[in-house]
Point group: D2
Amino acid sequence: MNINKDQIAEHNKRLEPVQKRRFEQLAAELSGAERIVQHLVDFQVAIPSWALGTGGTRFGRFSGGGEPRNLQEKIADIGILHALNRSSGAISLHIPWDIPEDYSAIRTLANQHGLAFDAMNSNTFQDQPGQALSYKFGSMQHVDPAVRRQAVDHNIEVIKHGIELGSKSLTVWLADGSSFPGQLNFRRAFQNTLESLQEVYAALPDDWKMFVEYKAFEPNFYSTTVGDWGQSLLYASKLGDNAYTLVDLGHHLPNANIEQIVALLLMEGKLGGFHFNDSKYGDDDLTTGSIKPYQLFLIFNELVEGMDNRSMDHTKDLGWMIDASHNLKDPLEDLLQSVEAILIAYAQALLVDRPALAEAQAENDVVRAQEVLQHAFRTDVRSLVAEARLRAGAALDPIQLFREIDVRGRLIKERGARTVATGL
Amino acid sequence: MNINKDQIAEHNKRLEPVQKRRFEQLAAELSGAERIVQHLVDFQVAIPSWALGTGGTRFGRFSGGGEPRNLQEKIADIGILHALNRSSGAISLHIPWDIPEDYSAIRTLANQHGLAFDAMNSNTFQDQPGQALSYKFGSMQHVDPAVRRQAVDHNIEVIKHGIELGSKSLTVWLADGSSFPGQLNFRRAFQNTLESLQEVYAALPDDWKMFVEYKAFEPNFYSTTVGDWGQSLLYASKLGDNAYTLVDLGHHLPNANIEQIVALLLMEGKLGGFHFNDSKYGDDDLTTGSIKPYQLFLIFNELVEGMDNRSMDHTKDLGWMIDASHNLKDPLEDLLQSVEAILIAYAQALLVDRPALAEAQAENDVVRAQEVLQHAFRTDVRSLVAEARLRAGAALDPIQLFREIDVRGRLIKERGARTVATGL
Amino acid sequence: MNINKDQIAEHNKRLEPVQKRRFEQLAAELSGAERIVQHLVDFQVAIPSWALGTGGTRFGRFSGGGEPRNLQEKIADIGILHALNRSSGAISLHIPWDIPEDYSAIRTLANQHGLAFDAMNSNTFQDQPGQALSYKFGSMQHVDPAVRRQAVDHNIEVIKHGIELGSKSLTVWLADGSSFPGQLNFRRAFQNTLESLQEVYAALPDDWKMFVEYKAFEPNFYSTTVGDWGQSLLYASKLGDNAYTLVDLGHHLPNANIEQIVALLLMEGKLGGFHFNDSKYGDDDLTTGSIKPYQLFLIFNELVEGMDNRSMDHTKDLGWMIDASHNLKDPLEDLLQSVEAILIAYAQALLVDRPALAEAQAENDVVRAQEVLQHAFRTDVRSLVAEARLRAGAALDPIQLFREIDVRGRLIKERGARTVATGL
Amino acid sequence: MNINKDQIAEHNKRLEPVQKRRFEQLAAELSGAERIVQHLVDFQVAIPSWALGTGGTRFGRFSGGGEPRNLQEKIADIGILHALNRSSGAISLHIPWDIPEDYSAIRTLANQHGLAFDAMNSNTFQDQPGQALSYKFGSMQHVDPAVRRQAVDHNIEVIKHGIELGSKSLTVWLADGSSFPGQLNFRRAFQNTLESLQEVYAALPDDWKMFVEYKAFEPNFYSTTVGDWGQSLLYASKLGDNAYTLVDLGHHLPNANIEQIVALLLMEGKLGGFHFNDSKYGDDDLTTGSIKPYQLFLIFNELVEGMDNRSMDHTKDLGWMIDASHNLKDPLEDLLQSVEAILIAYAQALLVDRPALAEAQAENDVVRAQEVLQHAFRTDVRSLVAEARLRAGAALDPIQLFREIDVRGRLIKERGARTVATGL
C-alpha cells in the first residue's frame, strides 16, 4: 500500500486552521521561527530495516501482523513513514538480512519513495545458516585468525553491497566481549579487533566513513571489546580520518552523561553518528523520548552548539538513525513517535538563546543558564514541527492519519497476519 | 528586608499584557484552564529551614552571603519566597537547629508572612555539642539502649516544640545503617529501630502524622536501616494508622521507578509526603526538575490520579516539601526554580486527559497512552502557573523580580557577607 | 549415559590422598569441621529443567550439542550432575515445557537418579502455540479478565502436575509490567494481579507453598508488577501464610543490598526460596559466584544466621535453586561450577564465628566484625566441600571427571549435535 | 609513640609456630611460594596524609581521638603502620595541608621511619583562608583566566615542595565540573583545563610524572571535567610522555569493568597509578577489599599480567596508594586492613597459573579460565602475606599487635582525645 497525496492533503485541510493559529501565535513569541522550521524541513532520520517488525526479548516475541517479508516491503514501509512525516528519507540496511537481488531495482524503488541509503550494517553477532565458523566467542576479537578473517570478509562484502546502492558509510557494531572473568585477554582482544578493523578500513572507499559503535554490555555480560566512548575513540583514532565514533543512547552505564560525551567527541572531530532510542535500565531500545526527553534535548543542545562551532552541516555531517525495538507497539507508529520526539528536541535546541547562554556561562550564572535551557525546553514547539511537515508535504498529524486510513489493517490484508520480519 | 505589594504590583503591571495574551491563547486550547489555575493557587510547598543557606559536600562549602543567622531570619527568607510566588506558605523546622526561644513571637512572625508550620524534623545523624551519647553507630538502631533512649527523647522533644508552633507532623529521617558487612545484625537493627519508633509514635498527638523517610545510602555506605520504601512501609504498618512513608526523590537506587512506588503507597493508604529535589547520580539534592523533569511529571501524574481515586485533598492530605542543597546557586533563587518546576509538573498532571488515558489503558493502546501523557507534558503550561501567581498576588516572574530589586544584595547588607546558616 | 559408581571410585582413589591431607590440615585449624561437612552433605540445590540447554540473548543463541530433547533426558542430565556432586538432588519443572506423559514413569525415573521434584514453574510470559489469548500485555495483571482467567487456570494446571509428581511448591514469576509510561494503571495492575494470585492460592494444597518471585525489569522495561521485595512481600502478606517471597539474585537494581533483604524477609517469616546466579549489569544469569563471590557469602551469612535464629532446617525450610542461562559454557559444567560456588559460600558462612561476631557487633567494633567475616571468607574451604562429596559418594573433582569420561561427547553421540532444549 | 623491634619480636615469637606450619603446608601445595613472598616483601603502598584522621560526610563527622595534629605526627602515624606491616613505606602529601616548615627535618624524620615521599597532591577543590579567588565554579576549567592562573601556580608550588622532599610525581585531582545542565560549555571547560594542565606539565622536572585522576561525579553532580578514563587519557595523551592516568576504584559509574580499563591503559602505556578503596554505591571510600574483594583480585590479575607483559617493575613503575575515608573505624586499623587486602589480592594474582590461563583463553575454554582464576582466588594466601611480613621484620598480625599494645590509647594520651586531623 501507499499513502497518496490526496489523503495527506485532505487530512491537512482539516487540521490546518488550528495549526495555522498555533504556529502564528508561537512564531510571534519567538525570533527565528522561520529559520527553525527550515532546519526541521531539512532534517532527515534514517530508519533501520530491522525496526519495521516486532522486536523481542530473550523471553519471547509477540508478533503483530503485516510485517515486511523482504527488502521491497521494508522500503515500502519506510516509504509510508516518509510520506507521512517527510523526515524519514533514508533506510539503513543490515547484511545479510537485506541482501538485494537486483541493485538497480532496489535503487529505483527507494528513489520512488524518496529514500536514500544510509549506513550499511554488518552482522557478526549471529551465526547464519551455512556459516563456516561460529561467532560464539566473538568475531573481530576472536583468538582464531580464521574467524577474524571471516568477519573482515563479511564487512568488506557489506561495503560492496553499499557501494552498489549508493551508501556512504559502514557501521560496525561488535557484540564481541566476554561473559566471565578470565575468558579474554583484554589487550589481545583489543589488538585483534583493531587489526581486523584496519583491514576493513583499508577496503573502505575514500568517500566513505566507518562508524565504530560502542556498547557497555549485552549480549556479553562481563566485558565488551568496544565498550565505551573511550575505547571507540581509541580505535577510531588509530584507524584514521574516516573512522568515527557512533553513539547509541542505550549503550551506556547507569547515569552516564551522554551529552558531555557528545560534546567531547565533536570537539575531537570524531563524532560520526547517532542511534536514537530511549531506556530506563539497559539497552531497552524504547521509543525515543519516551523516558528521558530532557536528556534528549540536552544532547541536541550539544549537537547544535558543537556542529555550529565547527561549521558543520546539521543534515549531512552526522549520521542520524533510529535504533529501537518495538516489542509492544506497532513498529510504524513507534517510529513515527520517535521521529516526532527527535524533531521536537532538535527544535528546542535550535530555540536556545545561545548568546544568553554564553553570557550566563561566562558569569557563572548557573540559575540563568538553567533558565535559558529550560525556557527552550518548556516551549511547546509542536506547531513548529507540524509547520515543517506541512511545508514539506507531510501529514500534520502522522499517527492520526496512519490510523484513519488504517495502514496496519491494509498491510495485514496485503501481507498476512503472521509475517515475521528479520530483526531482533 | 521585605517585598512589598507595590513592588509586586509594579512588576506585574509591566508583564501582565504579555501574560494575559499567553494565558488566553492557552486557555482557549484547553478545557478546564480555570480549574487548573485554582488548583495551582491552592498548592503550597513547604520550605525547609535548612535550605536557606549554601549547601556543601564533604569536600567543602562555598558560602554565599546574607544567609539567615537565626530562626527569625529564616522565616523572613521564606517570607520573601512566599511574597514572590505565594506557593511557599509553610516552613519546616529542624531541631535542634531551630529551637525557638519564644514560641509566641515566632508564631506571630510566621503569621505575618503567611506561613504555616509544616512537618518538624529531628536530628539524630549528628552529635550536638554537649550531647551525652554519640550517634556514630546509629541512633534508634543502636545496640546500646541508652542511645536509643536519647534518640527517642529527642524526637519527643521535637514533637513538643511542634505542638507549641502548630505543626501537625513529625518527619523521622534516620541515617542509621552500617558502612561495612558484619557491622550490624540487620534484624536486630530493624527491631531496635521499630521499638524506638513505637515509643515516639506513642508520644504523638492524635491529630499528628509520623513520616518515616527512607534512603538507600549515605551517610552509611553499606546498609541503611530504613533503606527503601518496602522497609519504610513495614515500619509504618507496624506503627499504626498515623504512620506513613515519606518519599524523597533522591533516596533511591539507580533507575528506580519512583512513580510506581508512589502509586502503590497511595493504594495502601500509606503515602505521607514528599521531599522534592532532583539528582543524576545519588542523593545529589539538586534543584527540582533540573535533571529529570519528565520523571517529576510522571510522579505528579500518579499523585493526582491516586489522590483523586481516594478523594484526597491535593493540598492538605499529603506533605509537600522541598529538600535540596544549594551548593552553587543562590539558595532563594534555587528554591524559586524548584517551586516553579513543581507547579509546572503539577499543572501538566492536571492537564492529563484521564478518560482518554483510561480508555487507552483498557485497550492496551500503548501508543495512545503515551500520546496522552506527552501531550500534557509538551504543553507549555507556564502561563497557567503565572496566572495562578497573578491571581494570588504573587510576582509574574519571581526570579526576575528577585534580581531587579536585588534581594540578595540587600540581605548581604543587612546580615553581612560571611554569615553561614545552619544546615548541610 | 550414566555415571557409574566405579568411575567415581576410580577417580576418587587417585585424588583421595591429596584430599585427605588437605582436609586434615584444615580440620586441625578449625573447630567444627565435622559439623560443617555434615551440613554440606545434607545440602541440596535444585536444578531447573530449562538450564540444561544452551541459553541465548535477544541477539541470538549459539547452541552446543547433546542437549536434552525431552523430560526424560533432562532428568538424565540432572542425574549425571547429582552422581558427580551428590548435591543436585532435585529438579524443578517448567510447564508447559515439561508436561509428563506418564507421571508414574517419570517419578520412577527421577527416583532412580535420586532426584526429588522441587518447585513447579508456570509460564505466562510467552504465548504457546494454540493458546487462546495472548500475554503480550501481561497475564495476571491484564485488563481483560479472560486473560487473567487463562493465566490462573494455567497455574492451577501446573499445581496439578506437581501434585502427581510429589512437588510441594509453586513458583510464580510474572513478566507482567509495562514498557512505557502511561501503559498501565499501576494500582489496577497490582489489584488484578493480587486477585489472580488469590485464585491460584486458593487452589494450593495445604502442604504446598507459593513463591512470589520479583524482578526489577526485563522483559518489560519501564515497570514490573512484582518489581521488588517490597511488592512481593505485599502480595505474600495479603495472600496468606503459605505464600512467600522468592529472591533471585539477578533481579535487583544496581547496588542493591540483597543480604539485608534476605535478613528482613527471614525476620518476617516470609522468605521462601532462592534462585542462584550471578550478574554484573542486569539479570545476566551468569554462573553463581563468578562475579561477586563475597556477596554470595554475605547472603549465606544472613541465611545461616537467620535460619538458625528461627530454628529452621537449612535443607528443608527454604527452596534452593539455580536459575542461570548458559550462553557460552557447557550447561552441565556451568551447573557444576554454580553448585560448587554455593557450597563454598555455605561452608564459609557455617565457619563464621557467631559469638565473636555478635560480640563485635555489641561493641560496635566494626574492624573486628569485618575480621571475623573475612576470616571465614578467606579460609580455603574447598577441602571441606570435597570431603562432603567424598562421604556422599560423589566425585572429588566433578568437572575433572566430567571431562575425563567425556560426558558431553557421549551425550552428543547419543542425542546428536543439533538438539535444542526448551528454555531461554 | 613508636613501635619498637622488641615488641614485634615478642609478638612474632608467640605466633610464629602456627605461621610456620601454615606457610609450610601452603608452600608445599604451590609452586613458587618463595617468589611470591619476595614480591610481597617488596611491595609498598603509600599512605595519604589525609587518611590518618576520622573522615566524614556532608552530614557530619564523628571524630575519634589521638589524631595527628601536624605533618610530624602524620609521619609518626605512618611510621607506626610501616613498623607493623613493613608494606606502608611511603607517604603522600597534600598541599596546603602538609606544607613543611623545615624540609630537611621532615626528610630526616621520614627517613627514620623508613618512609619515602610518594606523589604530591594539590588542592583546588576548596578555598583556603586568604585565598584571592574562589574555586566555587572550578579551578583549571574556570571561565576566568585569573582563577586558572591561581590553580596553575598552586600546582607549581606543590611541585616545588615535592622536589625539596624527594617526591617524583604530582597527582592532579580536579573537582571541576558542573552541577546543572547549561552551567558549562563542555568543550571550553576541557580546553581551559588542558591549557592549565599544560602549564603545570611544563613546570614538571624531567624525572617526574603527572597523574591525571578522573572521577565520575561528586562534588559536582551533573558533569565532571575529568570524568572518566577516556577523558583522562585524552588529557594525558595531549600532555606528553610523562603524563598518565590515575585510577581510583571508587570513581566510576555503577557496574563499570575497572579491570578492563586497567588492562587497556597498560596497553597504551598510560596507566600511572592507583588509589585503592572500596565502595558499594559511589565514591564511598571504604576499606579496600571490604565490599568487592574479587574485583580487587581481578584488577591485580590484569596489573600483574599487563606489567609483566611490558617488563615493568611491580614496585616502581606504578604508583600505589590508598585513598579512603575512615568515618567509623580507627583510621590506622582501617589502613592496616586495606594494606592486608591489597597484599592478599596481589598474592592471589601472582598465584594465577598464567600458561594455563593463556591456554584456556586460546581454546575459548571459558569454564577452565574461570577455574584457573578462582583457584588462585580461593587459595588462602594469608600465610604467604604473613611470611613476607615476618621476613621483613613486621608483625605477623599487625592489628592484633596494634591492639595489644594499645596504640590508639597511647596516641590519645600523647595528643589528646579531641584532635582533628586535616582531611576530608
